[in-house]
């Protein structure tokens, strides 16, 4: 290994040494290095193995498009696979490992794949692994996945923090090269709110390589402007509707030990009034035999390493170029004292301005490169014959492709430009303007002028008057570009897509076999897939396909650009929403009361509901639930009903409004009374149910199911605002204002009488009464409702939420002598099934009121209500619809499960014979056997019929009988007690 660091130059801090390791080997570098530049400085060219053929691969680029130098960094939970060495900022303690090799990078058994390469061409898998069919999933795919591939993810939890945030600006500038800096400066001076984001750790783009003196001045001025925020290390990864951009900031990816109070990555959602896309252009590789041997590099990358990090990758370099960029690289190399063996240029007339020492070979091409793990020589063919030149580095430049990905994220299609020999995106879209090299400009002065002018125009569009561009427009002097897609006559593999090992012949084969369409060719050959998404390869592939098909690249077109521009970690997308913050916990005002009474909680949506209250000696949930149910039917119980949705409805037209949203009548509901209501959807099927009470002439109180609390309020607002704006009606969600307690059981009245100041006898407060009551001797006001879900004599008491625990304690204290118990959602479920009351298990989106036995509730006199028209459709009234009934086992010792299907007695167990299913079931401790509610074809006409209850998933069969859904107190004597 030799030292490739030049003795002077670069933007590195030579006074500080950074220690890092690669494949376990201890190495050093300096601040200002990337992992890639530090490896090159240490003489390491071989960095990875290719995806399919396990070919040795080196560092090709100096930026985000890197397809080869993918490494795994970190250890334990911080392990990160497939990171680009070119984008990793070198830091103390950095651990990097090569990937896709075994046992070592230098000696990789998988390289034997290369010998099989004649058989591994495009479409190989489709053609070869067709039979036997069953082998694909079990044998072939696991084998192939094991052999090919990239890094491996860790199974350990990531110890670091991530966060997401929002930002707003007048102008977002994406890319801090010449055009971006000029745009930001122009907008900054005009007083606009500016965000300038760049994926690099240093702002400047190509100016960092060119050593332009204006960079320092511009950066200093931007830094001094309070209205400009610079975001280095921030990749804008997507452009979304309403001019929202996604961006990932690498906040602490470059530090040895992250501060635990700071995120390692921050995901930005940037809402920009205008944006300038100044992302520059990507240099295109040249397609010739052996163009993937370590030592072959993009010319611009070589310049970048030379000028920014003072690293010369080779001692003797050959330049292969189709444009001026190669000459700039040659000039910089010679200026740094590096030997340039030759400049190979396929153009007939090479650049006239070349003044350097290196000889220029015009009309020539590099046909093949030789070397295994490092470049040894290149074979050149030209007008004057062939020759071989020894070299350990090769700088190539096949022209430039503007980086337009973001501009195409919302559907715009790139357009082929003959003059630029490149695809360009529409220069102006609403809210986004492309500037600089991304819009086809080449020289620094042209880019500066273009960025400044376009920023001024973008600001003018949002009302900034007379913005002065900070740089003058300048013309590009460069001649029109000539595309050069591949070198003819190469013997070795000429790679088009490095990351997926797609070479020239694969694309030709795709065209010959009928997959020449650009989207098909991508899938057939895998060109443009994986982590780099073809940033380097796509345009060459399009050119090659065009030539093979004999058409223009314009006709071939591009594949579709989609977010994200570069890979985004799951951590950044998750932000702080992990562990206990994965989703918010929603707690009832009786949560603490339930907790101290020993509740077991169940998550219901975001809510934590008390499910049952185990007592000493009870070992199963059923024991607790059975005890709670029996005690309520005998004595009394207290249950938290606070999670049900509650909506206050005000207005002089509130009664009319309710008449229209419920299928049953509400207009004549007297003050002080509650009514069970059923809300339909427009299609006539039930949407939600609940009780609504009239507290005064113009004030109603609606309850909804827990799950649909927000949905019903939205529905009401929609109806009021858009269907009937003429009605005066207002809504307020009061779900959280009221703690709601159900007190059920024959002794509930006796218990509540100790707390409620007023007479609540059956005469004074009969079934379905509802009104505000005085409590605790006038010390508190509450709302009392005589409603029952359990089928018992029961009340619901609402008190302001802060008083919940105190009032529940008081009820339990008053109820102690009546043997009151706390009960949870499970016992509530048993009680309501015993009584035949429905929930959303039965209201499953396919039932009409008639299906559930509420047919007579539906008003026939109201002029209209939501769902009325559709409810009259023939099918909605058909007699053989599945309708609500009860089911029970013939042998009480046997049981069945919810979801089981109903078969006619003797019918075969097939879906064709399905006659309905069990919607809810439980063990009834009062009856001593399992009971269920079911929706069965013609159910109510089949009471007493023997059926088979069939669970096809578990192959369980239970003989049952169809019965009334009301198992307890069918005469409703308890309710009216």
């Amino acid at each position: 290994m030799s030292n490739h660091r030049l003795s002077t130059g670069g933007r590195i801090d030579r006074t500080r040494t950074i220690k890092f390791s690669f494949d376990g080997k201890a190495l050093t570098g300096h601040p200002g290095d990337t992992l890639a530049s530090a490896l090159l400085a240490n003489g390491i060219q071989l960095v990875g193995r290719s995806f399919k053929y396990h070919r040795p691969r080196g560092i090709l680029t100096a930026g985000a498009a890197e397809p080869n130098a993918l490494v795994t960094t970190g250890a334990g939970g911080r392990t990160e696979a497939n990171t680009r060495a070119t984008m990793i900022e070198l830091h103390d303690g950095l651990i990097a490992r090569s990937q896709n090799r075994w046992p070592s990078l230098a000696f990789d058994i998988g390289a034997a794949n290369g010998l099989l390469s004649p058989f591994l061409s495009a479409g190989f898998y489709y053609k070869t692994f067709m039979w036997p069919a069953g082998f694909w999933e079990k044998v072939y795919e696991p084998l192939i996945r094991n052999a090919a591939g990239l890094g491996k993810a860790t199974y350990e939890a990531d110890p670091d923090a991530y966060e997401k945030c929002w930002a707003h600006c007048d102008l977002l500038v994406i890319g801090a090269g010449p055009a971006g800096l000029a745009a930001a400066l122009t907008a900054g001076r005009a007083g606009a709110r500016v965000l300038l984001a760049d994926e690099g750790f240093a702002l400047g783009g190509s100016l960092l390589t060119d050593g332009d003196a204006t960079l320092t001045t511009i950066l200093a001025e931007l830094d001094a402007l309070p209205n400009v925020q610079c975001l280095p290390r921030t990749t804008v990864i997507g452009w979304y509707d309403d001019n929202v951009f996604g961006a990932v900031e690498r906040v602490q990816k470059h530090v040895a030990l992250p501060d635990p109070h700071q995120p390692v990555e921050r995901f930005w959602r940037i809402i920009a009034k205008q944006a300038i896309l100044a992302t520059g252009a990507e240099e295109r590789p040249l397609v010739f035999g052996g163009n993937d041997i370590p030592g072959v590099m993009m010319a611009s990358a070589m310049r970048s390493y030379l000028n920014r990090q003072a690293v010369a990758p080779g001692k003797r370099t050959v330049v292969f170029t189709t444009n001026d960029a190669g000459y700039r690289a040659a000039a910089d190399l010679e200026a740094a004292g590096v030997d340039v063996a030759a400049i190979v240029d396929p153009r007939a007339r090479s650049d006239a301005g070349w003044q350097g020492k290196a000889k220029v070979l015009a009309n020539s091409c590099i046909v093949d490169a030789a070397g295994g793990k490092a470049l040894r020589s290149v074979h050149i063919a030209g007008a004057s014959g062939t020759q071989t030149i020894e070299a350990d580095a090769l700088a190539m430049s096949g022209g430039w492709s503007p980086i337009i990905h973001l501009a195409c994220h919302r559907g715009a299609k790139p357009v082929w430009s003959e003059r630029h020999a490149a695809f360009l995106a529409p220069e102006r879209q609403e809210g986004l303007t492309i500037a600089g090299a991304a819009s086809g400009h080449a020289s620094t002065s042209a880019c500066l002028g273009d960025g400044a002018r376009k920023a001024a125009e973008a600001l003018a569009a949002i009302g900034f008057a007379r913005v002065e561009p900070t740089f003058l427009s300048a013309d590009d002097t460069q001649a029109a570009a000539t595309p050069f897609w591949y070198v003819k006559g190469s013997k070795g593999k000429a790679f088009v897509d490095y990351q997926n090992d797609v070479h020239l012949k694969d694309l030709g084969l795709a065209v010959r076999e009928g997959y020449g369409d650009v989207e098909l060719a991508k899938r057939y050959t895998t060109n443009g897939m994986a982590t780099d998404q073809g940033k380097l390869s796509n345009i060459n592939a399009i050119g090659i396909l065009a030539e093979a098909r004999g058409v223009s690249p314009a006709e071939v077109g591009t594949t579709t650009f989609r977010p994200f521009y570069t890979p985004v970690s799951f951590g950044a997308l998750t932000g702080t929403s992990r562990a206990k913050h994965f989703q918010p916990a929603r707690k009832s005002p009786l949560h603490e009361w339930a907790k101290k009474n020993g509740a077991v909680f169940v998550e219901t949506g975001l809510w934590y509901r008390s499910a049952w209250f185990p007592r000493a000696g009870e070992t199963t949930w059923r024991e607790s639930v059975d005890r709670e149910v029996l005690n309520i039917r005998k004595n009394a119980g207290l249950c938290d009903a606070s999670t049900l949705g509650k909506i206050e409805i005000f207005g002089k037209d509130a009664a009319t409004f309710l008449d229209r949203v419920y299928c049953n009548g509400f207009a004549k509901l007297p003050v002080g009374r509650a009514r069970y209501g059923i809300m339909l959807r427009e299609d006539g099927l039930i949407y939600d149910d609940g009780t609504t009470s009239r507290l005064s002439e113009d004030h109603f109180f609606m309850t909804t199911t827990t799950a649909l609390a927000a949905g019903v309020l939205t529905h009401l607002e929609f109806c009021a605002q858009t269907l009937w704006p003429e009605l005066e009606v207002h809504f307020a969600s009061s779900t959280d204002q009221w703690a709601q307690m159900a007190i059920a059981g024959p002794k509930s009245r006796a218990i509540l009488s100790e707390i409620v100041d007023e007479d609540i006898s059956d005469a004074a407060f009969p079934f379905m009464s509802a009104r505000t009551v005085s409590l605790f001797g006038g010390n508190l006001e509450g709302r009392l409702f005589r409603i029952s879900f359990s089928g018992e004599l029961a009340y619901e008491l609402g008190v302001p939420a802060g008083y919940a625990e105190s009032v529940a304690d008081a009820i339990m204290q008053a109820g102690a002598k009546h043997d009151i118990c706390a009960y949870g959602a499970e016992a509530l479920g048993v009680l309501r099934i015993e009584k035949g009351h429905v929930t959303h298990a039965e209201i499953n989106g396919t039932v009409t009121p008639g299906d559930l036995g509420f047919g007579r509730m539906v008003s026939t006199t109201k002029p209209d209500f939501i769902g009325k028209a559709m409810l009259t459709r023939e099918g909605m009234q058909a007699a053989d619809r599945p309708r609500l009934v009860g089911v029970k086992p013939i042998n009480p010792e046997t049981s069945f499960r919810t979801g089981s299907h109903i078969l006619a007695d003797g019918a075969a167990a097939t879906l064709e014979n399905d006659q309905g299913y069990v919607t809810s079931s439980c063990f009834s401790p009062n009856l001593g056997h399992t009971i269920g509610l079911a929706l069965i074809n013609n159910g109510p006409e089949r009471l007493g019929e023997k059926v088979m209850i069939w669970n096809g998933l578990r192959n369980e069969f239970t003989e049952g009988v169809i019965c009334s859904p009301v198992f307890i107190d069918p005469e409703n004597e308890k309710l009216h007690a």
Partner: protein, 172 residues
């Protein structure tokens, strides 16, 4: 007869947190009155003043909706007096227990808030007195700018602990 009932603030156990440039504190569970209907901010202000609620702040909360908020609890009589004084077509829903107020202040308050809300909090877009109903992360809040570097978040009681815990973590 059981004891006289007492109200328990949902964030009672949470002490104020002072971070770098951030102060986070739960406000007293005083009163939050949701007013809806055909009135104006000026008329409502006058109504509150005449009811002796000069210390209550009035926060717009959408089309013809407001929250009147303050640190002192109102008893049933005081509440009824306001309801009676409301002009026809205007209605009041007491949310004093349903909504919980959290104050966030300090030079880094907007930075912290930008981690949860998509509302533009720049002085030029959200000056003192501005309000917005928005999300903080996954939780719905009513956000008010009550000072140059002071904000109030009004949240449903059931989400108050989850929101406070999230804010505490971000303020660390």
């Amino acid at each position: 007869m059981p004891d006289f009932p007492t109200s328990r603030p949902v964030l009672a156990g949470k002490s104020a947190r002072h971070g770098k440039g951030i102060t986070l504190e739960a406000l007293p569970e005083g009163h939050v009155l949701q007013v809806m209907g055909a009135t104006t901010s000026a008329d409502l202000r006058a109504l509150l003043d005449s009811a002796g609620l000069t210390g209550s702040a009035l926060r717009p909360a959408g089309y013809r909706q407001w929250y009147a908020v303050g640190d002192t609890p109102l008893d049933a009589q005081a509440l009824q007096a306001i309801v009676t004084a409301l002009p026809p077509g205007t209605y009041l829903s007491d949310q004093s227990h349903g909504r919980v107020r959290i104050r966030l202040s300090g030079t880094r308050a907007t930075e912290l808030l930008s981690k949860g809300t998509a509302v533009d909090l720049h002085d030029s877009a959200f000056s003192v007195g501005h309000t917005a109903t928005t999300l903080f992360g996954h939780i719905s809040v009513h956000l008010s700018r009550t000072g140059e570097t002071e904000f109030e978040l009004t949240v449903l009681r059931s989400f108050a602990e989850a929101l406070y815990s999230e804010l505490e973590e971000l303020a660390a």
